[in-house]
Every structure is written in structure tokens, then in C-alpha cells.
């Protein structure tokens, strides 16, 4: 007999786990080189598949945390100014300290992503009447303003191509020794799982959470720090992955509800699975050439987002 927190989730979890294995196998087998060659498998294929799983799970979890903290279904790092702020941080640190180690650059991106996300939450708090559609709109516009600042700086300094590599997620350059930072995203995903109950309660709103004895401020600060770091790590290693954190949690919530302790493993697995699927698609469509997963995700994600927006019955919104 499963513990009550897992009831109803186990069958879904089993199906997901199987799907994930199949997709991971496909991801390992697709490619130009011969899988038989040990170097290809260990130096390129395995790191790539691992990077996809880590980034997919991380971004989906970042999305679900953002949605609880902002109490809005349509918020995620790419609709809250988080991703664009992280990119701006990467750009600035690359300009000011081109030789800095990647860890330092990532810290700068994290700090910048944090600042952008906190600004977004401040703007939200200043808007007493926030209906569920204005919130993502404000986030997207904020991201647009930050993004145009980045474009302008990059344009002045001949960094437009660099900017492009952070703006569109691409796993084709992932090799052994060049993706390990993503394990940090995995660790943070586990930390989020440890905080799951607190974040769920924080998602009930400030007053309700304080009534239930939660230190609301600290929980939100911790949650936002996790989101900013996962986003910054992902952008620093493979580039932005739009809408993954928006679509996956919404689909999982329809199946498993809003208790983060129950839904987080499903969100992480589905995020990894969807990203693997998009990556394999991008590799197969124009074989032997590749279409970056950020682009595939942009098409799939925005199409699914439109479906979510235009559904007649907005029960879940």
C-alpha cells in the first residue's frame, strides 16, 4: 500500500518513467557518428542526454515554483523577466571580465536573474488588481525591455552572436567536461523537493501562509533564489529554453493537482521527457543537420501555451 501522498501518482509515475527510458535510449542512438565507437558514446552522446534530462527537469521545476510563488498559472522564467535578466548578466560579465572562470560568470548571471525576478515580483505587488492574464503580460514586457537593453549593448560591442547562443538553447555542443554545471541545477531541484510543502503553503498567499505558521518571506526568497540559479545555470551552459516551465506544470496539474510534494517528481520527469523528445525531433527533422532544441521548444511551447489560453473552459486557470 502506497503512502497517501503518493496515491494516484504511482501509475502515472511508472508510465512516465518508462517513457523517459525510451526517450533517453532514442536520444543516445540518434546521431551522425557510429554508436559503436566508445568515444562518441561517452564523450558526446551520454553527456548530451544527461544535460537534456538535467536541464529539462530543472527548468520545469523552476516553472512550477514560480507559478506557486507568483500565484499565477502563466508565470515561468521566460514570462517573468528571469531568463532575459540572466542573459543580460552573462553579457555584462563577459564584457567586463572576458577571462573570468565560468563559475564567476554563472554567479553574475544568477545575481542578475535574481534582481530581475525580484523586480518583477515588486511590480506585481504594486499592482493591486492583477488578473491572471496581466501578470504574464507584465513579465513578458519586462523581459522585452531587459532584452532590448541587452540587444543594444551587444550591438554596440559586436556581441550579437554571443547573445544568440544564450538566447536559444542548443545542446549540439555539449561534450564531456562542458556541461557539469548542470548538476548544480539537479541539486537545487532536490533542495526544492525538500522545501516542497513550504512552497505549496506559500502558494496559498501571504496571509494564509503566515496564519499557518510559515515564514513566508524566507520561503519565497529561497524559492526565488532556486529559480534564478537554475535559470542562470541553464542559460550559461546551453542557452534559454522557453515555455518548458510553463507548459509542463500546467499539464501535470491537470493530472495530479497542486500539491508540490506529489507533483514535483512528475513535473521533473515530464520536463526531462519533453525536452528529450524536442531534441530528438530537432535532430531527426533535417538529418544530418540539427535544429536547436530552443527553437523546437519555442514552436511546441508557444503552440501549447496558445491552446491553454484559448481553451473554452478555464477551470485550471
Amino acid at each position: 500500500m502506497a503512502p497517501p501522498s503518493l496515491r494516484g501518482v504511482l501509475p502515472v509515475g511508472l508510465v512516465l518513467g518508462l517513457a523517459l527510458l525510451v526517450l533517453a535510449a532514442a536520444s543516445l542512438l540518434v546521431g551522425v557518428g557510429d554508436v559503436g565507437a566508445p568515444d562518441i558514446l561517452l564523450a558526446s552522446r551520454v553527456p548530451r542526454t544527461l544535460a537534456l534530462v538535467l536541464a529539462g527537469a530543472g527548468m520545469a521545476v523552476a516553472g512550477v515554483i514560480m507559478q506557486l510563488v507568483a500565484q499565477n498559472r502563466f508565470v515561468e522564467p521566460s514570462t517573468a523577466g528571469t531568463a532575459e535578466s540572466a542573459t543580460l548578466g552573462m553579457l555584462l560579465v563577459t564584457l567586463l571580465a572576458p577571462d573570468a572562470p565560468v563559475m564567476v560568470k554563472m554567479l553574475a548571471a544568477t545575481a542578475s536573474a535574481l534582481a530581475g525576478t525580484i523586480l518583477f515580483l515588486r511590480v506585481l505587488r504594486a499592482m493591486p488588481l492583477r488578473d491572471r492574464l496581466t501578470v504574464p503580460l507584465v513579465g513578458i514586457m519586462l523581459g522585452g525591455v531587459v532584452g532590448s537593453a541587452s540587444t543594444f549593448i551587444a550591438y554596440r560591442t559586436d556581441m550579437l552572436q554571443f547573445l544568440g547562443t544564450w538566447q536559444a538553447g542548443d545542446f549540439s555542443t555539449v561534450l564531456r567536461g562542458r556541461y557539469e554545471l548542470l548538476w548544480l541545477a539537479a541539486i537545487l531541484t532536490l533542495v526544492a523537493y525538500g522545501l516542497a510543502d513550504r512552497i505549496t503553503i506559500a502558494g496559498l498567499g501571504r496571509d494564509a501562509a503566515i496564519n499557518l505558521g510559515l515564514d513566508h518571506r524566507r520561503t519565497v526568497a529561497g524559492a526565488v533564489a532556486i529559480v534564478a540559479t537554475i535559470t542562470a545555470v541553464t542559460i550559461a551552459t546551453v542557452g534559454a529554453i522557453p515555455f518548458l516551465g510553463l507548459v509542463v506544470p500546467n499539464l501535470v496539474a491537470m493530472a495530479a493537482g497542486d500539491n508540490l510534494r506529489r507533483s514535483l517528481p512528475l513535473v521533473a520527469a515530464s520536463g526531462a521527457g519533453l525536452l528529450l523528445l524536442c531534441d530528438v525531433l530537432g535532430r531527426v527533422v533535417r538529418y544530418p543537420y540539427e535544429i536547436p532544441v530552443g527553437t523546437v521548444m519555442g514552436v511546441v511551447g508557444s503552440a501549447l501555451f496558445l491552446v491553454l489560453l484559448l481553451r473554452r473552459d478555464s477551470r485550471h486557470a
Binding site: 554596440r156 514552436v299 503552440a303
Partner: protein
């Protein structure tokens, strides 16, 4: 909210006259500053640039005011509704389908692009306005997400091009006032002036539409017919100006809202020209400052994007109060 400028008894005509004078002054400065006496070269070169700046300013401003009147709010613009990305997608699609020189004559290509965009825009906005007439924020969000979808599709198609084609294509992605072809300028001017005049002649009916759909119908306006006509004009204005210089997303939002604040009247007969003049001042002044002071040629669209995005945020925040 009334700005100091509209308090007291300022007539709309005097505000228009001031704006016109400022535009004229900037235009003269644009033509003459730093010319160093090489008039034979400078006048035609800068004249083409000035003409395209003025045309685009008038077109974008008119289109935005029209769109805001029929949608009944002052935050929407055709560009925010994904129009610019639609233009880029169509550009990309044409190159993928027919190659960079595919349609041969640039004038033919210009007409084909414009036609395709008018058709697309009409279908999309008509459907959206009909379907979501009630929920403005949903409409806006759908438009923004449509823009993201179009952009991702463009990126997807770009991957199917060879690098040389891509370089040619990329130049059409940013607004550029420096590489306008004179023959296209004439063609565009014809279309834009015709659409502008048609819009201005609709002024009276547009004033009635400001009252809202039901009131307009009660006062004898054929609502569906007028809406379609206005959307066709918007599509023509935006498509032609975009096909001429490329996308300038937030310019319309900035200038339309400035014009509303400045004019002591709601009548379209004066608001339309006011918005066009404010846009002309913004574009010509901006280009003048960027070129002569910062020697940046192509950055105008990025700066306008930044300012316009801020404008939108302020408008959203103020509405929510």
C-alpha cells in the same frame, strides 16, 4: 489625466501648428547638419532617408490610432499583436520557398509580401477581435504569444537556409532607414498616402466608434463593415511600412499615447495628424541625434523598442491602479 499643455484654452489647431513647426525644423536640420557643402550628393541621399522616415512615421501612427479605436483600448497595437514577427515569418517563408532572388523583380516581391500580410493580418485580427471582444488581456496575451510562435517558426525555417541566404535575410529583420530603394519608396508612398487619406476621411465614423460598439450601432454605423474597412487600412499601413524599412514594434504605442495626452480633443480629424507629427518628430529627431551625436546608424529601432516597452509597462501598471 490632463497634461499642462491642454489646460486653459489651447485650440487643437495651435497644438498641431506647433507640432508641424517642430517637424519642419527637425527635417531641415536633418537635411543640412554636417553636410559640408556637398549638396549634389547629400540632398538626394538624405532626401530618400527623410522621406522614408516621414512615411513610416505617418503610417505607424495612423495604424496604431485606428487599431486602438476599433479595439477600444490604448494599450494594443498591431505590432504587439505579433505583426512584426508575422512579417519576418513571411519574409523567411518566401526565401525558403523561392530563394533570395526568387520573385525576381523587387517591386513584384514587395507587392506579394504586402498582399500576403494584409490577408493574414485581416484573418487573425478579425478572428481574435470577434472571439475575444470581451477579454482584452487575453487578446493581448494571445497576440504576444502568437508573436513568439511566429518568431520560433522563423528561426525554424532559417535553419533550412544556406548561410549566404541567411545573411541576405537577416538584413530584413531589423528596421533600417539607410537602405531604402527609391523605386520601392514611390510605390510605398502611393499605397500609404491613399490609405492615410482614406483613414482621415473616416474620422467622423471613428469618433462614433469611440463610444463603443453598441452606441455606434445605435447611432447608425454599419459596425461590421466599418470594422473590416478599418482593419484593412491598418493591415495595409503596417504591411507597407514594414515591407519598406522593417519592423518598428513600439513606435506606435509611444506616439499614439503622447498624442492623446497633448491634444485637447478626442476628434480623429485632429488626433490622427497629431500622432503622425509626433511620430515624425520621434523618428527624424531620433535618427538625427543617433547619427550626428552618437554616430550610430542602425540603432534607432532598438532605442525605440526600449522606450516603447517602458511605456507599455507604465500603462499596464497605471491601468491596474
Amino acid at each position: 489625466m490632463r497634461s499642462p499643455l491642454t489646460q486653459g484654452r489651447v485650440s487643437p489647431a495651435s497644438v498641431l501648428a506647433l507640432l508641424a513647426l517642430a517637424t519642419l525644423g527637425l527635417a531641415i536640420a536633418f537635411m543640412t547638419v554636417g553636410a559640408n557643402g556637398r549638396w549634389g550628393f547629400v540632398l538626394p541621399f538624405r532626401g530618400t532617408k527623410l522621406a522614408s522616415l516621414l512615411l513610416v512615421a505617418g503610417a505607424v501612427a495612423t495604424a496604431t490610432v485606428l487599431f486602438q479605436t476599433v479595439s477600444g483600448n490604448r494599450i494594443l497595437t498591431p505590432a504587439i499583436m505579433g505583426f512584426d514577427e508575422l512579417y519576418r515569418l513571411i519574409q523567411t517563408g518566401i526565401v525558403v520557398a523561392a530563394g533570395t532572388g526568387g520573385l525576381g523583380d523587387p517591386r513584384l516581391r514587395f507587392l506579394a509580401e504586402t498582399g500576403a500580410m494584409v490577408l493574414f493580418a485581416l484573418l487573425l485580427y478579425r478572428w481574435l477581435l470577434n472571439r475575444n471582444g470581451g477579454n482584452l488581456h487575453r487578446l493581448l496575451l494571445v497576440g504576444v504569444v502568437c508573436g513568439v510562435l511566429f518568431r520560433s517558426l522563423s528561426q525554424f525555417l532559417q535553419r533550412l537556409l544556406d548561410p549566404n541566404q541567411f545573411v541576405v535575410l537577416q538584413s530584413s529583420y531589423f528596421a533600417n532607414f539607410n537602405a531604402v530603394r527609391p523605386d520601392l519608396l514611390m510605390l510605398a508612398a502611393l499605397g500609404l498616402v491613399a490609405a492615410g487619406v482614406a483613414a482621415w476621411r473616416l474620422s467622423g465614423r471613428l469618433d462614433v466608434l469611440l463610444l463603443g460598439r453598441d452606441e455606434a450601432v445605435a447611432l447608425g454605423i454599419d459596425y461590421r463593415k466599418t470594422l473590416t474597412l478599418v482593419l484593412v487600412l491598418v493591415a495595409i499601413l503596417v504591411s507597407v511600412s514594414t515591407a519598406l524599412v522593417g519592423p518598428v514594434t513600439f513606435l506606435g504605442l509611444l506616439v499614439a499615447n503622447l498624442a492623446y495626452r497633448m491634444m485637447p480633443s478626442y476628434r480623429h480629424a485632429v488626433v490622427l495628424p497629431a500622432a503622425a507629427l509626433v511620430a515624425a518628430i520621434t523618428l527624424v529627431g531620433g535618427q538625427l541625434v543617433l547619427e550626428r551625436v552618437f554616430s550610430l546608424n542602425a540603432a534607432l529601432s532598438i532605442v525605440i523598442e526600449f522606450l516603447g516597452g517602458l511605456t507599455l509597462l507604465v500603462l499596464l501598471a497605471r491601468r491596474a491602479q
